[in-house]
Symmetry: C2
Subunit: 308 residues, 2 copies
Amino acid sequence: MQADPLPSWDDGKSKQNILTFVNEVTSDSHPSYVPPEERIATFDNDGTLWAEKPIDCQVMFIFSRVFELEKEHPDWQGIQPFKAVLRNDTKYLENLGNPKFECQLKDLILATYSGMHQGVFQELVSTFLINTEHPRFKVKYTEVVYQPMLELLDFLRGNDFKLFICTGGGVDFVRAFSESVYGIPRENVIGASVKYEFLETDNVIFRKMEINSKNDNKSKPENIQLHIGRIPVIAVGNSDGDLQMLKYTDAGKGPSLKVLLHHDDAEREYDYDKGTKEAIRVAKEQNWTIVSIKDDFKRVFPFEKERN
Amino acid sequence: MQADPLPSWDDGKSKQNILTFVNEVTSDSHPSYVPPEERIATFDNDGTLWAEKPIDCQVMFIFSRVFELEKEHPDWQGIQPFKAVLRNDTKYLENLGNPKFECQLKDLILATYSGMHQGVFQELVSTFLINTEHPRFKVKYTEVVYQPMLELLDFLRGNDFKLFICTGGGVDFVRAFSESVYGIPRENVIGASVKYEFLETDNVIFRKMEINSKNDNKSKPENIQLHIGRIPVIAVGNSDGDLQMLKYTDAGKGPSLKVLLHHDDAEREYDYDKGTKEAIRVAKEQNWTIVSIKDDFKRVFPFEKERN
């Protein structure tokens, strides 16, 4: 008798899909067999591996950086979107997701994520992660990760899958905790990035005030090709920004598993479908695996007890 | 008594440097100890892992593609640099390395490496590699690899190093043989790249007529940051294009090993220093490990017998 590799998953269709798929692609006599070198699994991060509500960790980071940097930039009191951050103008800030405000969002990201040596940025992120609590759960953000997803990562790793994060979050932000929290090494994180410049004066990397990649939507499969060079066999996401990655995985030659996490549990986590409707529509239409937090997760977070 | 992990290396200073370094960084009681997750080793490919003379494999590929594509492009008979390729005008072609001809070289690369689906390109490369012999050694290019370097890769892998190729050659070209020849998986190849576009019509990657990165000189450390997110502990190269990668490795916080392969053996391989002089000068000045093919390699290629 084998121990259940996914104890925090309810014994429903989602868990069964995952177990069956992994069993088939790893059985060398099965027609769906996939050799280990091709066992690539890509995971979105925000809202897929950890909670992104009520405010994403990286948005918190940006805000805290704006407050820190304000001393050096007194003019920010009069310049948007910095002014809105400093005055906690939530109404204004909500607009930043709107394409019309793309430049302002970019200004905010570049002002807080770049213009410094790589080593300095890494220190800033590490310090921030140690000192910042999730506003609702009152634990570090790095603890607000989904227990069933941690089990899925372990299960896949045990079956010789190579695990990658493919996130619209900053690659170097996520790398600061990917190893300790997910067991995913830094080199297996693909994410949004600024341009780097190698400074020959002191042989270090400088983070330029320029976006290299947003790593969302179409750029997810593009960066998967750049970084991995193979089409994933498993892709896991939760939003419209993951749709192209899921479609790309689906279009691969062999068998594939597409998993979409659906946030439908206001009690234990959050219930929202903003930015996820198209993904859910396609997932239903294509018969992909839709994981309901409410129905499929016995336990949501490691710090939480299993429900009865 | 342990078997010699580097049997094709002469028992000189270079071999001793490598053995000592690896022994120290993997001994957890040694002050130079490096934990496994930080054991990153990056290798250049052309002239470091395989021979690049008298003509680099990828240049052969470009030329063969020009001949194949000429039917669809009769105008190439009158347009440089295609004309020079079609007429084997070696004098003209030698100029293409000159910065003044950068645009022509780019035209040649884009015409042969891009403007097609990713899957089509991979097939072209695989077919080419099967059918193409090295002009001097009369074996496939993928056999003209340095036996001592294969042993070094195995030795480092056995000591929990993570091995990466960081090449100015095309990333998807090198990925076609990195696993079978070097045991280095596709996702651990960093190289020159064209821009990719995800086509939503059929969910595949298209290779655009645009350079993304040349991955030489300064862009080697920049792409190491993008792809790996860590400073290497070991870097191995052979030319001025590897110098920034070597300097970046040298500037890391902990211990590091910088290896420069010197081509000084016209009899068994080639003897040249074009494009390598500055690297050799710095390596000598900084006391890096300079590996002489003539003196340090007992055997150069797997198909060759060990010398007496």
